[in-house]
Amino acid sequence: MAMIEIKSISKWFGQFQALKECTTQVDKGEVVVVCGPSGSGKSTLIKCVNALEPIQQGEIIVDGIRVNDPKTDLPKLRSLVGMVFQHFELFPHMTVLDNVSLGQVKVLGRKPDEAAENSKKLLHRVGLSHHAHKHPGQLSGGQQQRVAIARALAMNPICMLFDEPTSALDPEMINEVLDVMVELAQEGMTMMVVTHEMGFAKKVAHRVIFMDAGAIVEDDKKEEFFGSPRSERAQQFLSKILHH
């Protein structure tokens, strides 16, 4: 059953075409990794999924809801889709606990106590119980990214989008974030992950999408992708990225 359906979408920034007729889908419980060179449109693609960027052609359907329909209640849709950003994007003026609680109170309408209770559980789950009352600026990058994951999970999303969640991290901290993501994947969360961490992809991805210059060049089962990517561009990319 398809959770996210992307049907032949195109997107322009002014004159520049950032996405070219991209089509793919993510099934319930499936983990899809998106990779490709810088500027190839990976971030743009996943931002289109929860309508953070509008598209000009094609359509996207999330859990049966047409995203690019003017009648769609976008805030509601977005609350169903969790998202984690490269630079964490925690709200620096709030404590960690408030970061996780904010959406629950303002969007889901939970009582502040109830929300805080739930937030503490989530923070415990990502191993940060002791940091609830700090501000994001007082945490390391890895810790911040785990808070960001907890914040997304707090909305009880039906699927999660990740945009290079580890690429702004110190090498030592990458694993503490990947571990949380692996756990999520193993619990059956539907995930679409932009990342260059091929270790993660090999471990939990079901499918790998390779993008270049705005187009989806490869869309394969993990085994096929790492076995023998069809396109030369993907081969080249893999060789560079796996080399060091």
Binding site: K47, N50, L52, L74, P75, K76, L77, R78, S79, L80, V81, G82, M83, F85, H87, E89, L90, F91, P92, H93, L102, G103, K106, V107, L108, H135, G137, R151, A152, A154, M155
Partner: protein, 221 residues
């Protein structure tokens, strides 16, 4: 001449000056509060793609910033009675004028403040399902306000100094009070020196607070 300083005029006119100072402070506080609120709305109108509304906001801000405050004060004073039908008095007119005028400056500051927030913060707000107003109110504006607090306060110091221009419509602020006292006693030099000291103490005090605030904010980030 300095040896001939006669500071008894100062003691004699203290009640006078106190009243002027109170008006300056009142005007500053009201115009600051109103100006920041109105200015923030203007900034949001300019940044959102709202066609004519954005354009109108842009025009308003640029016009206000291109005319000397003195002229704006005069115009408002002469024109408001024509619109409302009844004169509203110098002090009320000053309050309306300063709020409207300072809003243009505060709006530029808040616009810079809003733009200083990484776009990702807005996305993050939207991504957890908040709408435009919720994202603005909970995420963008609190941060923009914090980032800009020092500049907002600096503008407020300028505003406080600018209240001296209300002499043009006969409202009595600190400087005007000092001037009147200076004239009545024919001792302008003493009164100007005295006014300079009061202004310096107040404005310096404010900028000291600005610095302390900046340090406090630096810890949170």
């Amino acid at each position: 001449m300095l040896s001939g300083f006669d500071f008894s005029v100062i003691t004699a006119s203290l009640p006078f000056i106190r009243e002027g100072l109170l008006f300056s402070v009142k005007l500053t506080v009201i115009a600051m509060t109103g100006g920041i609120i109105f200015g923030t709305l203007l900034a949001m109108a300019r940044l959102a793609n709202l066609g004519p509304l954005s354009l109108a906001a842009t025009w308003y801000v640029n016009l206000m910033r291109s005319i000397p405050l003195l002229m704006v004060i005069l115009w408002f004073f002469l024109v408001i009675p024509l619109i409302t039908g009844t004169p509203i008095g110098a002090e009320n007119s000053a309050i309306v004028t300063f709020t409207a005028f300072e809003a243009a400056y505060y709006s530029e500051i808040m616009r810079a403040g809003i733009q200083s927030i990484p776009k990702g913060q807005v996305w993050a707000g939207y991504a957890i399902g908040m709408n435009y107003w919720q994202t603005m109110g909970n995420v963008v504006l609190p941060q923009a306000f914090r980032n800009m607090l020092p500049i907002l306060l600096t503008q407020t110091i300028i505003l406080f100094q600018d209240t001296s221009l209300v002499y043009a419509i006969g409202a009595k602020d600190l400087l005007k009070a000092a001037e009147i006292a200076g004239k009545n006693y024919n001792r302008p030099v003493e009164m100007y020196v005295f006014a300079a000291i009061i202004y310096f103490v107040i404005c310096f005090g404010l900028s000291y607070i600005v610095k302390r605030l900046q340090q406090r904010i630096a810890i949170i980030r």
